[in-house]
């Protein structure tokens, strides 16, 4: 078992080295994530119990379990290469910042690479607790009163970790911990781009916190751009 791991790691290192030489040019996968059907209407968040947050909004915000845009675009979908690509190698030195502001998480879905630093910041005038409900990783739970320094953490296993603040039950987010460095999160347009892919056969996975995952297989032969679209079925509840 162990020797296999070592072997795999060796391959990964070799592949990473090869990539470093062959990159940056390569194939690209891009596309759009949309939904069909009628998504459940997101509830307006009642922040009356937390006036310091409520006053930051002129119109009360709604929940973010499903965020959509024009043309049935679906936001907050993590699209990544789940198989075929070499591991991302060592984590990027740059930390991913996860901000609590107005009793919401910014970004709603934070994508990290395994062992990449996560910085959790509280910009609110109230205490939050950051509670990632990890299964594969360690489940921890830390309090962060106003004015506290940023919390720095890492996750060492691939996992989509729901994160919540127990004090403010509407606060839900996700730490998407990935092995790969090839990922994108859909934004306003629902579009994504995964550039710099060396030739190979890839499995692309799209993950959405409410609608689950979808995968497609894509083969890259050279410097082409392949179009891949995902359509999620909206659940009415």
């Amino acid at each position: 078992m162990r020797s296999k791991h070592v072997f795999m790691a060796g391959v990964a290192v070799l592949a990473a080295a090869a990539m470093a030489v062959a990159a940056p040019s390569g194939g690209t996968i891009s596309g759009k994530v949309t939904y069909e059907g009628t998504p459940a209407k997101q509830k307006v968040i009642d922040m009356s119990k937390e006036p310091s947050c409520a006053k930051q909004y002129t119109t009360p915000p709604t929940g973010e379990a499903v965020v959509t845009g024009a043309g049935n675009s679906l936001h907050n979908v993590v699209v990544y290469i789940s198989a075929g690509a070499p591991d991302g190698g060592s984590a990027p030195a740059q930390a991913v910042t996860f901000t609590q502001k107005g009793c919401r998480y910014i970004p709603h879905v934070a994508v990290l690479q395994v062992n990449q630093e996560l910085k959790v910041v509280n910009e609110d005038q109230t205490s939050h607790n950051i509670h990632p409900l990890a299964k594969a990783n360690r489940e921890w739970n830390k309090s962060q009163p106003p004015g506290s320094p940023a919390i720095s953490e890492k996750f060492d296993k691939e996992e989509f970790i729901p994160v919540k603040c127990n004090v403010h039950p509407w606060m839900h987010g996700t730490f998407a911990v990935l092995k790969t460095s090839h990922y994108a999160v859909t934004g306003d347009s629902g579009g994504f781009t995964l550039p710099n892919l060396p030739p190979g056969k890839y499995t692309i996975t799209a993950w959405h916190e409410s609608y689950g995952t979808q995968t497609q297989d894509v083969t890259i032969t050279g410097g082409e751009t392949k179009s891949v679209n995902f359509v999620f079925k909206a659940k009415a509840y």
Partner: protein, 276 residues
């Protein structure tokens, strides 16, 4: 006869060696003080005492799990409430031993103090075999609990100030009765409703009875529940102030904190900023 003895011995030795191999991984053993617990003995005890709630696979899905709130601990997830170690890390063997010995107040988990220490150590060793984490990770480093500061009125008052500043009251309520504004919405990590601790209801905490235990609870957090760790946000001497104030919320308990407060009119004043 004589010739047989050495061969027998050899056999024993080699048998021992074979037995020793799998136990090289420390997950098969526990060490509490001078005691060494063994998972194989623990397995039989687990079958006898624990299986009804925690289940044959240790996943907290025993035959009684549907009727038990809060749910029995899932040892496969290896998230433990009462630790001396920082949040998110594995507890020490001693933490698990103490948890088995103490039981969990206001849950279905009784105190297993009637079992011998050896039996409890064996159980700790076996409980650790349910999760791979015990093979891949080391237990966290126990937090340091500095010497307790004197119980003074200033300390209690400052503790109350912290109680408000850190927003403990949001869950535990302004008088620690477990009735804060967020109390009704709280869920544990299995999405089951959970109540915040009601300080006025008794004298025991989930993770012990002493001031040191109380100190550990909010510094390490109660993993798997909404109770977070305050390790990064409270300084040690302030933590003792909070301990002293929290003790005064245990209205059914007689103690130096409550006595002192009573002697000074009975109510802590958070506004007192006495140089802390």
């Amino acid at each position: 006869m004589k010739t047989k003895v050495p061969s027998k011995r050899l056999l024993c030795l080699s048998a021992l060696a074979i037995l020793a191999l799998p136990s090289l991984g420390s997950a098969q053993e526990s060490h509490i003080g001078k005691l060494t617990g063994h998972a194989d003995s623990g397995k039989q005890l687990y079958r006898r005492f624990c299986i009804g709630c925690h289940g044959p696979r240790g996943d907290g899905q025993g035959e009684n799990a549907p009727y038990v709130t809060p749910q029995p601990r899932n040892f496969v997830a290896a998230t433990f409430k009462c630790r001396s170690t920082v949040t998110g890390t594995l507890p020490t063997d001693e933490d698990l031993f103490n948890a088995i010995t103490r039981g969990f107040n206001t849950t279905n988990m009784p105190s297993w103090a009637p079992l011998t220490e050896q039996q409890r150590a064996d159980l700790v060793a076996y409980v650790k075999t349910f999760s791979e984490r015990w093979k891949n990770e080391k237990p966290g480093t126990p937090i340091e609990v500095p010497a307790e500061t004197p119980v003074t009125l200033e300390s209690i008052n400052h503790g109350k100030e912290l109680f408000q500043k850190l927003e403990c009251w949001k869950c535990h309520g302004p008088e620690g009765r477990g009735d804060g504004p967020a109390a009704s919405t709280l869920t544990d990590s299995n999405d089951q409703p959970i109540r915040p601790y009601n300080f006025s209801a008794g004298t025991r905490f989930k993770c012990g009875t002493t001031n040191q235990d109380l100190y550990k609870i909010f510094i390490t957090g109660v993993d798997g529940t909404p109770m977070p760790s305050f390790a990064d946000v409270i300084k040690p001497n302030e933590a003792w102030d909070l301990v002293h104030y929290l003790r005064t919320l245990q209205v059914s308990r007689k103690g130096p904190e409550s006595d002192l407060l009573k002697a000074h009119g009975g109510a802590a004043k958070a506004a007192d900023k006495s140089g802390k």
